[in-house]
């Protein structure tokens, strides 16, 4: 049977969506990483609640704590960008608005990530 599909399109097997299970899989990988990191984060927030800024500074200046906090923020914002993309994919049906909102989500997540990591580095350098 004749087909309009190019051989490359056929072998990629992606159909009209241009993408496969990559998004789904990245969402799961970040979720698996976030499960233990969230418990650690909760332990930290409870431990710092009601203390002073000196305690928080000293705690976050410790390399292991800074790394874990950085990992928590990194995975959280990646997971958030993926999740918010699904919300936009589901409810926004015009191409222009969809692209605009996806850019807003990605740039916002990147900005929050950059600010958080900069603050962590600044704390470590204090």
């Amino acid at each position: 049977m004749k087909t309009a599909q190019t051989p490359l399109h056929k072998v990629q097997g992606m159909g009209a969506s241009h993408s496969g299970t990559g998004h789904f899989w990245r969402e799961r990988v970040t979720a698996v990483a976030l499960a233990p990191l969230s418990l650690w984060f909760l332990f930290v927030l409870l431990g710092l609640a009601g203390t002073s800024e000196v305690t928080a500074l000293q705690f976050l200046a410790h390399p292991w704590n800074a790394l874990l906090m950085g990992a928590f923020i990194c995975f959280s914002l990646y997971h958030a960008a993926l999740g918010l993309q699904v919300v936009i994919d589901d409810y926004i049906h015009t191409a222009g608005m969809k692209i605009f909102l996806l850019l807003v989500v990605r740039f916002s997540c990147l900005a929050v990530f950059a600010v958080s990591i900069f603050a962590l580095i600044r704390i470590a350098a204090l």
Partner: protein
Amino acid sequence: MAENPQRPVAAVRPLSPHLTIYRWPVTMMTSITHRATGMALSVGAVILAWWLVCISNGPEGWQSFNSIMGTPLGLLVLFGITWSLAYHFFSGLRHLAWDLGYGFNKKVAERNSVIVFALSFLAAIAIFALVWTGHAGYLQ
């Protein structure tokens, strides 16, 4: 080409009632709540970034964060985000179990939905109770 006079106008085509007419199954509640708490946690990430910036700004920064988040409205927001994190955590574990093929049985899915809701509220209340009864702040 001539218009078909019998063609119904798109806007007035009858639509079978769906979301508005059925009693919400608890599994639908958990699905929508998972999405809503995920969106709330995105806001939580912004507050976390702001908290870190405040800490890096020294005593005045710490004061400014506490003076805003220590208000009743601020505490309400913190409680909402704490509950959202607890809910998204338990519901997320459930999603990972589904990915492995467990928990699709109707009765089990309904029971687990109630468990996830109960655990999330218990966890959020327990976290705030620990702070208010002076059991937090152990990193001092």
